[in-house]
């Protein structure tokens, strides 16, 4: 792998140049407690330290709502509405989110590719950024705290800049023109600093241990009382799934227009926490109660993604942090599996 270094000052310049390649998105502080990926207007607004964004990065490749087709009923024809091939650059993606994107790929690209997602993904550049965990993070036990694929560049924080790992050909091409100008060689001190950073980071995770057997306990304790207790609190609002970087359910609807013959076939994010998610004709519902739906998410998120060899949940902590009812996903999982301690 290729490693280069960039100073903090030059990073701003680099971001400035990235803006010329396409639309640059990076974490911004949007309120007291929340961050979100926003289009970068002034590079000084970019946050290099943040825990998690309120909206997951998947939305840049798989938007909340998009028009798949337009149609005309007189011709009985669907007209494809593929995204434009404008470049989208995501700066500051944490490793959990990068793995989450790869779980998305496994569904949307690996098998019967979804042309909309694929096209955006091909036109996307992902630049990772190191982070320090808070008490909501548990990517370490999900084994995704350090990614080795799925990014074009990955920025590791150093006291005086960033150590950059180059992940793909696209990444090389981003570095090449500025080699020597913005990027310099990595010296042993930098490696030492990265080492220290990683050490500090590892020690900061509040949850430790091995979670590999979790999904078996999930199944062996299907009727754990936790489900009843916690689903009582649940508001069924879908925040957990909508903020999750690896949730992917969508719904499709035809929206006709007022001329009585044309319209749009749109898709938009759905959530398994909504009643209609499992509803079929004749009002039969395969996930009838709030508890059923609550349970469904716990099973789904802990199921296994063979492409990343991890669970679909990457431990980013969003579903807990953004739950208005304050339901603690990590804690509840630990309760089911019988894992001890480490929760604050």
């Amino acid at each position: 792998m290729r490693y280069v270094k960039i100073s903090k000052q030059n990073t701003y310049e680099f971001l400035e140049r990235l803006k010329k390649i396409g639309t640059l998105y990076a974490p911004h502080k949007i309120s007291e407690k929340f961050f979100d990926f926003c289009e970068v207007d002034d590079v000084k607004d970019v946050m290099f330290e943040y825990q998690r964004t309120i909206r997951p990065p998947r939305r840049f490749f798989y938007p909340e709502r998009e028009v798949l087709f337009t149609f005309d009923t007189r011709k009985v024809e669907l007209y494809e509405n593929l995204p434009s091939d404008k470049k989208q650059i995501l700066f500051g993606v944490h490793s959990c989110d990068i793995v989450a994107l790869r779980t998305m790929d496994s569904k949307f690209i690996d098998d019967q590719p979804d042309p909309y997602y694929k096209s955006r993904r091909e036109n996307g550049i992902v630049i990772g950024l190191s982070c320090l965990p808070d008490e909501y993070c548990f990517c370490n036990v999900r084994r995704v705290e350090f990614v080795d694929a799925g990014f074009d560049l990955f920025f590791h924080e150093l006291p005086d800049g960033f150590l950059v790992r180059v992940g793909t050909v696209v990444g090389h091409k981003l570095v090449d023109p500025y080699e020597g100008e913005l990027f310099e060689e990595v010296c042993p001190d930098d490696t030492e600093n990265m080492s220290k950073f990683e050490e500090k980071r590892t020690s900061m995770f509040t949850t430790q241990g091995n979670w590999d057997n979790l999904r078996y306990f999930m199944e062996l304790r299907l009727n754990h009382p936790m489900y009843i207790r916690e689903s009582e609190k649940c508001l069924g609002c879908g925040n957990c799934t909508l903020t999750c970087p690896s949730c992917k359910c969508y719904d499709v609807q035809d929206i006709p227009s007022i001329d009585g013959r044309t319209g749009e076939r749109i898709r938009f994010w759905d959530s398994c926490q909504f009643r209609s998610h499992g509803l079929v004709a004749g009002d039969h519902n395969f996930r009838e109660t709030k508890q059923d739906r609550f349970h469904n998410r716990y099973q789904c998120k802990n199921s296994y993604c063979s492409a990343t060899t991890t669970s679909f949940c990457v431990g980013c902590g969003r579903c807990t942090y953004f739950c208005p009812a304050d339901i603690q996903f990590k804690k509840n999982l630990m309760e089911i599996a019988g894992y001890k301690g480490g929760y604050s």
């Binding site: 669907l78 999904r215 359910c249 006709p256 499992g278 099973q299």
Partner: protein, 291 residues
């Protein structure tokens, strides 16, 4: 199979549909109609293949898409039939279509029944209500390839006699066959006035003319039926490796992406549209939540 107007060569949009013309519609019962379709594009018409138990997504522009099992013989190339119940927004409008209308079709989707595994075996088909739709396709497959299968028994059940799908077709079949190798059992579960058999499918096993040890079973009906049938079949010595059922779930995409049809638990997470809708006995009994 999809074709698209604006796309480049070789690129395909899995959500695009192919135009199909409605050629005929027949009334099967108060709420069910049988629709005969043909692909408009001759190339698709000749190359389109499906397996019994698979389904298509029928698209009515401005209303949406619905998954519907194909219920015709896999042999009739370019033509296929759908048996559709008027159940809501989309299906009610499909019922109003007149011959000559065009709809969009994509598919076929799902795994379908593993017909090759059924070769040289007797067949027991158990349908309840709309379940007869996919099983008709299995049945016609066996008729079309009669030499590959042993005895066939169909148990077709419905709540009321007039809701028995393909009732007359099946009766006619029996008359033609006269031979003992095809048995048709049609029963109404809640219809005292029905002039025929009464009671649930499980109560008519004496009329089943297959060898349990060498028989493949295909079932389609409500989950509640499966539980009872499983007990009955195992007790009678049917080989569990050859018991298959098809499941219904909400579906939007048909290709394992939209997530609505997800079933199972953390260790075995399935999509009914891709990993199913046909599941075998062991899958059903080992994965909680399938039925």
């Amino acid at each position: 199979m999809s074709q698209s107007k604006t796309q480049d060569e070789g690129k395909e949009n899995i959500y695009d549909t192919a135009k199909c013309r409605l050629l005929r519609k027949y009334k099967l019962s108060e709420s069910d109609k049988l629709f005969l379709f043909r692909f408009e594009d001759p190339e698709i018409a000749t190359n389109w293949r499906f397996k019994p138990g698979q389904f298509v997504e029928v698209s009515l522009l401005g209303l949406g898409e619905v998954p519907i099992s194909i219920c015709s013989s896999a042999r009739r190339m370019g033509f296929f039939e759908l048996c559709i119940r008027n159940a809501g927004r989309v299906t009610s409008q499909i019922h109003k279509l007149q011959p000559g209308s065009l709809v969009g079709i994509r598919g076929p989707y799902g795994n379908g029944f593993p017909m090759e595994q059924f070769y040289n075996r007797d067949l027991l088909l158990v349908a309840a209500g709309l379940g007869m739709a996919p099983l008709r396709s299995v049945f016609l497959y066996a008729i079309d390839n009669r030499w590959l299968f042993g005895n066939i028994t169909i148990i077709n059940s419905a709540k009321f006699g007039n809701e028995l799908l393909f009732k007359r077709e099946l009766e006619a079949m029996k008359d033609i066959a006269t031979a003992e190798d095809i048995s048709i059992v049609q029963t109404a579960t809640r219809d005292p006035d029905f002039k025929g058999l009464h009671g649930r499918a499980t109560s008519h096993f004496e009329k089943v003319n297959v060898d349990p040890k060498n028989c493949a079973v295909a079932m389609c009906g409500p989950p509640a039926m499966y539980k009872g049938m499983f007990e009955e079949l195992i007790a009678r010595g049917y080989d569990p490796r050859y018991i298959f059922v098809t499941l219904e779930r909400r579906m939007k995409c048909g290709v394992g992406k939209c997530g609505h049809c997800n079933i199972g638990t953390a260790t075995s997470w399935k999509y009914a549209c891709k990993d199913g809708p046909v599941f075998d006995y062991y899958a059903i009994t080992s994965i909680p939540g399938l039925i």
